[in-house]
């Protein structure tokens, strides 16, 4: 009622501007981007989903077969292995990147000497492409040339370290390369966040007698929530991109032990000439991203309106 009164009053004096026309220039300027988003992202997504219910092979064809492609997908061992690998890689990479990135940043933030040098060294891997990283680590982890042969050369003849050739742990060999490449960047993001923390907060905590580690956990990390969200997005995009790393390091082997979903999609669409199967797999990937994203978006944005 109060609002109605106020609005009624204000229309008598000055007419409030029509909302649609506020910041008109900015709105016009953003039209191309909005169009791109609508047609390319949403349009292509819908097109893909629709075709995942067809039996398209070399070319897309609207020849509907219901859920056949999905039944076949979930009956394929290679797909199941891919999903399992992605889950292991994703969870480990998320946790380790955050922990290692934050720890390195916290160490650098303690005002050590040669900070710039360390930062450059740790950031360097990020400048390399996944293919280069993959190849470098393929050599390092190669039993005949890498760590294993070096240690054996020192006289420990029975030493074995061949993650890329052992189906049980091959995904961890890929994980090492992924972490090595990504942690430096996460560290820099975290370091920027830590530098944004007011010096006086640290002083206040010291006067209060709070130990450094407790200050990090109870004061600093909660203050860095936006930085963690950014890091999370960056790491997640790295997880989705793991395709290149796998191709460079193992090509999915030994056998199918290091397959990942993105590689499955690519192989089905462009090598096995089975578009329908590829579309079904990519729709499943989209679905899982949505399942992860919706609760997060709800917490992040729904929470703000309430709080």
């Amino acid at each position: 009622m109060a609002i109605a009164e106020i609005q009624g009053q204000s229309t008598e004096d000055v007419r409030p501007p029509v909302r649609l026309f506020r910041n008109l220039n900015a709105k016009i300027a953003s039209i191309p981007m909005i169009m791109t988003a609508v047609f390319v992202f949403i349009g292509c997504t819908v097109w893909t989903i629709v075709h995942s219910f067809t039996k398209s092979r070399l070319l897309p064809k609207l020849d509907f077969v219901g859920l056949d492609q999905y039944e076949r997908l979930w009956g394929t061992r290679r797909w199941l292995v891919s999903i399992e690998n992605l889950a292991i890689y994703g969870i480990c990479s998320l946790v380790l990147s955050l922990v290692i990135g934050f720890t390195l940043a916290a160490l650098l933030d303690r005002k050590i000497r040669f900070e710039n040098t360390f930062r450059t060294i740790l950031l360097y891997p990020f400048a390399l492409s996944f293919i280069v990283t993959g190849l470098v680590w393929q050599w390092i982890l190669n039993p005949d040339f890498g760590i294993q042969s070096v240690v054996r050369g020192w006289g420990w003849e029975s030493f074995t370290f061949d993650p890329l050739y052992n189906p049980d742990i091959v995904i961890f060999g890929i994980l090492i390369a992924g972490i090595w490449q990504g942690s430096g960047f996460i560290m820099v993001v975290m370091l920027a966040g830590l530098r944004g923390i007011d010096e006086e907060i640290w002083k206040a905590a010291r006067v209060d007698g709070i130990p450094t580690w407790k200050t990090y956990i109870f004061v600093v990390i909660p203050m860095m929530r936006p930085v963690f969200v950014t890091a999370l997005v960056l790491i997640t995009s790295g997880i989705v991109k793991v395709y290149d790393l796998v191709v460079a390091q193992t090509s999915g082997g030994p056998g199918i032990a290091s397959e990942v979903p993105a590689k499955y999609v690519y192989d089905k669409m462009f090598q096995a000439q089975n578009l329908g199967q590829g579309f079904a797999a990519s729709t499943m990937m989209l679905l899982s991203v949505v399942i992860i994203l919706i609760p997060w978006a709800y917490l992040e944005f729904g929470g703000k309106k309430r709080g």
Binding site: E200, K203, A204, R206, V207, D208, P222
Partner: protein, 381 residues
Amino acid sequence: MGYTSENLAEIAIDTPQTLAEPSVRIKNLDLNFGSVKVLQNLNLDVGKGEFLVLLGSSGCGKSTLLNCIAGLLDVSGGQIFINGKNVTWSEPSERGIGMVFQSYALYPQMTVEGNLSFGLKNARIPKEEIAKRVARAAEILQIEPLLKRKPSALSGGQRQRVAIGRALVRDVDVFLFDEPLSNLDAKLRADLRVEIKRLHNQLDNTMIYVTHDQVEAMTLADRIAIMKGGKIQQLAAPGEIYNRPVNKYVAGFIGSPSMNFLQGNIQTGDTDVFLSGDVSIPLAGYAFDGLGRSPGKAWLGIRPEHILTGAEAEAAPFNTQAVIEIVEPMGSDTLVWTQLAGERIRIRMDGQSDVREGDTITIGFHAERVSLFDEATENRI
């Protein structure tokens, strides 16, 4: 007999307040950042229950000195005693101090209550005791209704109250303030200033308060230490600093608008006079006794509020005619700019005076209101 920074230490110990055991004693303190010497051989005693203000322009080392007392910086030399205990190398939390910062430095993810109790919980103080102390601090600072709120839901003034509360619950004898009011707007600043004064009267703690605002310093302090370049220029009660500044820097720093200075020569003889250009100012009745010893080049300082006009000026031992260049009405009083002996000077007049730019008025002053400073050393004569 001027007191310069060299013999300050003795003077500080001579004042009756510090004859009893001082609450905070700083002996020969040095502090360097790498090769930059910020504080050098600094001595300072702060009496029990005293309100000491460290005043100086930005970058003169006030915060550095306060952080040394708090233990947030490792000193390069010298010693610090708090309540008779040598705390030079103790952790901040073990020194018996509480501290309030310019940016409030509250823990943003905790409620007000959490902010007040976090340090106490960490020190494993029993729950009932914590509750008692928080309730007492909240009552003293009138923040009881805010206890469940987060700092982001508080105004600047409320945040600073909470920050003071966080120092209060520590139950310590010495409070350190680092420009606590600088982030507040003028009105709130005045309110909280009075609040802090009331707090000091109520608690009787020792307070060391850093500011660059001379109004805060003059109104709050028992004694003010004026700092420049890491040295204490003068340590004295506010009135003393205003009336008897030891050197030209202190004289120009304290007082708003600041003191007028004329450059010239002192001529001693039958009658002592100060000569500046074609102006000759008689010095009979000069309030300090250094005249005999230092004839020569000097600065003459006279505060804008001590320059008389009209009939009072006619009656003063020194008077002259001056043309008004600019008039700045400020309500309660009016600031008038004019020239004397080729220098631009300010005069503070009654707010009701109806002078106008271009008018010629009589100005004058008494020699006992004047301060003279040696041109070379800038110390008071």
